[in-house]
């Protein structure tokens, strides 16, 4: 099996290994879950980098249809997420309900990511992207 050694792969792998090293250092000096999270994310990225290194560069180049699909899904997901943030802000400012950002941030992230995935899947199935 042949591995690519171009600058994109080297940059990606150095970033993932850097994350693992940063996670180990953070775990030693500041005991928290952030270190474990960094190590796990770095390991996942390393595996992804090794997989990507075995494929040719053309394999990952998106065509025009995929670009259009991503843009359309991102456009709608952006508006969904902005509306969620505006509604949370209005509730936080104008009512007696105080929303903790720990919960609201996770809610915003989940809504944003899932709406992007679902819309991407939907526009992929739908076909014509006009």
């Amino acid at each position: 099996m042949k591995f690519r050694k171009d600058k994109y792969i080297l940059r990606f792998m150095s970033m993932s290994i850097g994350m693992i090293v940063a996670g180990i250092l953070l775990g030693i000096f500041v005991p928290s879950f952030a270190g474990v999270g960094l190590i796990m994310a770095g390991m996942i990225l390393s595996v992804m980098g090794v997989y990507a290194a075995t494929k040719p560069m053309e394999y990952f180049m998106p065509d025009e249809r995929i670009n259009k699909n991503t843009d359309k899904a991102g456009h709608h997901a952006f508006w969904i997420m902005v509306n969620v943030v505006i509604i949370l802000n209005l509730i936080d400012t104008f009512t007696s309900v105080s929303i903790e950002y720990n919960i609201a941030g996770l809610l915003i992230l989940f809504i944003g990511i899932y709406s992007f995935w679902i819309l991407g899947w939907f526009y992929n199935k739908k076909g014509d992207l006009e």
Partner: protein
């Protein structure tokens, strides 16, 4: 001069008038609210802006007010990129919040805006900062993609 030549923009006019009326009712204490900040002034301001926008758009012909294909492509690319920026920003804010609340990282008062939001709760809350980042990103990226030209 015909004022409204497109039915779609009458929605904006109605929305603007409704906003102003709710804002007035709020300011005159007809509608009670339990929050610490009065939303009346901001609702009236938003209503006036929507009303002016609706009046302007209803007076311009549809061929001028409707965006062309290039503008639509540009806007989609801009908003798709801004979506990624907001995701990254919300994640960074969340990580900072978790780090501060668990006292694992002590940054002192360096990031006063984010570490003690109650000091400047209205203008610099986390939610407002997300909206602020989104607006700045949209404006900057629109300018960039407009200058760049080819939207592929």
């Amino acid at each position: 001069m015909k004022l409204i030549n497109n039915k779609r923009y009458t929605v904006l006019l109605v929305l603007g008038l409704l906003d102003i009326m709710i804002g007035l009712a709020e300011m005159l204490k007809i509608i009670p609210h339990s929050g610490t900040t009065t939303p009346g002034v901001s609702m009236m301001g938003a209503g006036i802006i929507i009303l002016i926008l609706g009046l302007y758009l209803s007076k311009t012909p549809e061929s001028e007010s409707m965006p062309d294909e290039r503008t639509m492509k540009r806007d989609m690319k801009v908003q798709s990129t801004t979506f990624g920026i907001i995701l990254a920003y919300v994640t960074v804010l969340l990580l900072m919040d978790v780090s501060w609340s668990s006292n694992s990282i002590n940054m002192g008062d360096f990031f006063l805006i984010f570490s003690r939001p109650e000091d400047m709760s209205v203008l610099f809350s986390r939610y407002m900062s997300i909206i602020f980042v989104a607006i700045i990103s949209v404006v900057a990226l629109t300018f960039y993609y407009n200058k760049k030209g080819d939207l592929e």
